[in-house]
Symmetry: D2
Subunit: 394 residues, 4 copies
């Protein structure tokens, strides 16, 4: 009897691991670390169920990749067993380079280094440890592998990454409207001219998929309280760097040393707990700004946020800043850490890059935005930008 492990998943029922190499990669400490990194960072402050991990998401995306490959194979697309294994490994590891609180801290903990870059470094390291068996996965991950559609399944406007995170984030947050009919979509995909496409009858499911994504961004990922908490998290780390606040190793190196001093092993040894513990320590730090922000996150005493369609009213910002300076006895530079503006934008569909293509029965191919009676049409082009102001309560 072949290798066979089953994992219970509240979202998909069961996830099956029937490849020993895949199993061994999952067992590796680099991968297990993802257990300690929450998928949705601070979103649980609004949606208390949203505490699932990057490990869980990666396993889910892996499961959807299995379903996708099975369907394409059934449709006669020739994908070798080695390619199938490689595509599964590529998706399994696509997020392995995420650091603590993933996106929320990506820009501040390893400034200027995108998590995909680190994922790549880790996959390369694992490739060495596993005697080059991850070589093809590496190529699929970077897009170098000739069968382009395998990379598109890992990363594109209709990849299994998005399909899983929307499904999973919607499930755990309880925002059922974010539900994505992943099973139906995965029965509608096909390959044409070497590219991933969707069969004609899948048009409405794709529309729904894009609308679900649109809703999740607006209602969950960019929920004003979530934005506030994640802004606070970023500012805590930035302020800690600014005032050279100490914390336990190895996180301390990320705060107080230049990035080039840090090794991959050090990176792989930090997770959400390191940041959380540092913040706990900083709750009683002598720097007032750091202490205010740290206590705020710990006790869910968050900065207030106002969204608007236009940049914030300057008079209001000025007035608020003055009040904060007085109330907390801060100079203006410090008050700027506690009263600040920003903006967020999200497009429903990227009209220019890597379009979702529909394959008609008659062989015609159309961009989803160009089908008859398209819901996703040019009228939506342009990122939708929203402005916000965050400020501490008095």
């Amino acid at each position: 009897m072949a290798f066979h492990k089953i994992i219970n998943d509240p979202v998909y029922g069961f996830i099956t691991i029937d490849d020993e190499l895949v199993f061994n990669i999952i067992a590796h400490p680099y991968y297990q670390r993802l257990r300690r990194i929450q998928q949705m960072a601070m979103a649980h402050l609004v949606y208390p169920g949203a505490v699932h991990t990057r490990l869980h998401h990666s396993l889910g995306a892996y499961h959807l990749m299995c379903l996708a490959l099975q369907e394409l194979t059934r449709k006669g697309i020739d994908i070798t067993p080695a390619e199938q294994q490689a595509a599964k490994i590529a998706i399994l590891l696509h997020d392995v380079g995420h650091g603590p609180y993933s996106h929320a801290l990506e820009q501040v903990l390893a400034e200027g280094v995108h998590h995909e870059k680190i994922s790549l470094l880790i996959i390369e390291a694992l490739n060495q440890k596993f005697d080059g068996k991850l070589q093809m996965a590496l190529e699929i991950f970077t897009g170098a592998y000739p069968k382009k559609y395998l990379h598109q399944l890992v990363s594109g406007q209709l990849d299994v990454d998005r399909m899983d995170y929307l499904t999973r984030d919607s499930f755990f947050s309880g925002v059922v409207e974010g539900y994505v009919a992943y099973d139906r979509i995965l029965k509608m995909i096909t390959v044409h001219n070497g590219e991933l496409m969707v069969e004609e009858k899948g048009i409405y499911s794709i529309e729904k998929f894009l609308i679900a994504r649109r809703l999740m961004y607006r209602q969950v990922y960019l929920h004003k309280t979530v934005v506030s908490a994640e802004q606070m998290l970023q500012r805590i780390i930035k302020r800690a760097k600014f005032v050279a606040a100490a914390c336990a190793q190895p996180l301390n190196s990320f705060i107080n040393e230049p990035l080039q001093n840090i090794t991959l092993d050090q990176f792989c040894s930090i997770d959400d707990a390191d940041v959380m513990m540092a913040i706990k320590t900083w709750c009683s730090h002598s720097d007032k700004v750091l202490a205010l922000l740290s206590n705020g996150i710990m006790n869910r005493n968050l900065l207030k946020v106002k969204y608007s369609a236009t940049p914030a009213d300057e008079a209001f910002v000025k007035r608020t800043k003055l009040a904060v300076m007085q109330h907390y006895e801060l100079n203006e530079a410090d008050a700027n850490w506690l009263v600040f503006e920003g903006n967020a934008s999200i497009s429903t569909y990227d009209f220019d890059d890597n379009p979702i293509k529909i394959l008609y029965k008659n062989g015609e191919v159309k961009d989803i935005a160009q089908v008859d009676d398209a819901l996703i049409n040019e009228s939506l082009r342009g990122k939708s930008k929203k402005y916000y102001i965050c400020y501490i309560g008095l």
Copy 2:
């Protein structure tokens, strides 16, 4: 302890009846008849689970009305107990005038009489039987009652009727993408200037609601096989009238007598079973067309359908018709019953009538199609029309 009955519902869990008048209306034969009328007519030929009844849908809509009234009351809208009872009764009975196979046969069994007209007649009849206690329900049903929003809950672009049928039809057909977040929407409704509106934060839920409806129409209600079966059903009745085919009473009167001879009691005594039994009888009728169509429906041997964005190719229609005439030995007039064209159209949103209004926190009111970055915008105006041709296989 007050009157209290609980009904198990796979969709909502439990439906509570805590009003004796409502209970007595449910117990009345006119209402119980709805048990024998399927909500989705022939859709079960494609979606085998879609066999739920008009009675079940009406109970569901009643349940959502209870939730809506509860939320509005909580928000301080003054709705008297009598008005609440009346609104509940109005929605409970909104479909009571549906005949066998409801929409599918509406135009042919009682030609020229809309089911809402018959619902009104039945509500009036019940009002007499219940000593005038349904008077206010009648007024809400017709829109005569001053509090316009009560009628809007019964009938409008965001009424509890649509909310239930989308939710329920999606549930029973297994087309999960048609899911509507009725619970969230019902927490977002409010009344402003006497009209039903949706709070600002409900915008994305409303968008999703409209998209879900769009999808259900395209994927389910107008599924080509469903259209074929329902066209066949209509043509069976029309052909039966045409050839004066007999069947059991009282359905026979509907076939072979002028409409004005038919009483309300006769109308209320026919249901899906009468039509089904008549069709069984006609399977061996001497009229070839009637027999072909009847056998087709009974054994799920349906006419073929082709959809297209433009009217059907005349050459194809002609060619097909000739082949059918030859194969089945029919003249052209008869072949026209088995080879015919039609069209179906569905708008995502009605831009002109009874718009869905959004109430902003600052008191502003906007049509959902006019909000910033609207998904439902002018680019979708105009019904989307699709053409089809139906024809019998050879």
Copy 3:
């Protein structure tokens, strides 16, 4: 690309038909007839969602058979493609012999002939029509095929028939407690010594399965209102025979002719609608008993029922019968149709026949009722019998 059809199912998501013979059997009128026979007869009078059909249940059981065969094959059990096809066809057709309202009328419409007998006749007829291709399915159905476990999957204490009907009936009735973890159980089955067994780690799932069944019988199938309605249905047919009440053909033959005159084709042409239409006709029959019962069913005006642990109090029965005789002006013989006693019994587990066997890792085999700390143990032996009295209200 191989033959491949997908059917939406609210219970399992998608059911796949990837065998053309299976597809052709489904398309046959004998099978399509099951669309017109409700799975749960009169249970919808209590659980309005419980209107699903025998066709839907058969498709569901077929789906579970596919999963079961897939799992056994994965575990190295050698099952040939022909055997797999045969087992799928056997389960698909296991209920094809059900008549109108299935179990509820089984004893009265074709007295003395069990539905499995008729299923067998129909499978034989289909075997002829399909050139003997159903021969192996026939053998599996009857238990004649050497691989006993294939028959056990079709019919046994842990067959896919039960697994589907519990799951499906629970789903449509909304009694979520009847939920059965069919997916987990199907991952735990295996074959040992030619018999179907359950792996050790599946013990608790099996316990839950038996308890779910226990609950469904007590709460749903033997719900007092359901029992009342089904008793009424039986008595309507019996009374119709007794008074030789006429109705439309072919049902009329079942009522007014000896069983041996009836052909298989006649049997296959009646369904729920025939019975429902006959009952409608009898609502105004001159026989008072028949008319009372018929109106009761049509308008959900049901006989009252009292359950008790012991046979009904004779004094109460006598008193009630007298009151009914007076009120409805009936003689005692006729009153006996409207006031009567009965009993129902259901065992949680059949200790003697076809036990569910657990296969331990060490190779040991135990009856589920004999495992350590068994929930299902000898203390439950013996059918649990409940007595009821049904009587018409005054």
Copy 4:
């Protein structure tokens, strides 16, 4: 408009907070700390979705308490608004005394002090902060309040705590068989003679509830891998105390100081992250046992476990211990930390303490274990004990 907050919950849909005092208690840091304590400790190593928090469970139990009080009130039980508020607060805070990894570390972090004792201390502290407004909640929590059933709802064999944790743990772990029909059960509860009881028709739901609990214990809470991980966690802390291993404050005090030195504030400042960070530090500790266990937990490299119905085979234990001593170069005393025996036991129902009482329609009261044909009967009396041996792999 009254105070009104809504929280999205994937399990129940929405949880409503409509009481400002309740809201303020939730906002308190003592309560917010529960966000950082996982409900199921190490179970996520087997069930990756099981990462929900004590805060989420407490909110869920609060929600069920609201439903329970609403139902009892509807049934005419007189519960004052003050009592309702108090019962809600009591359940909200019932777990507030849990420390890091709750049950798993309860016995080692604060030896000899049960978490309910600490909950009580915290409720008293909060009572002071909130000017005595939690006095009645305190009395309900301790059982001192005269209306005994309010305490039974908080703590008993059928309390809302169990109902929520079974429902929630089943949901997040994906072990759907643990599902509890909380909504049906909560419609069946009543109060009789001052005690909480279940109406007769709820018997089967209660049986299912007990069986679901039985299954969750056997399949999840006492899953051998979960037991292994939790044993390792306990041994890490014990070993850290034994070798006086240092870690960051304030956890360090718990390890290296007598319990009486620790304040409530110190207790309330530690959570899962403190333990996780300490374990990370100890991964490179000079004590080999501590380092082995710490690395094991971090990288999911767990001790092996064997369950058996009888105490472990002594020869096997001895042989294993010797092998471990040799392989890891340890003396016997140290090897005992890595090879050890234990047992776990769980009764399906507690026959002696606080029975679940059924109230029959005729006024009779029976213990659920004494009803006719009881599934939960004397044959199950006695805890079911299972023995295990844990040992490190070589």
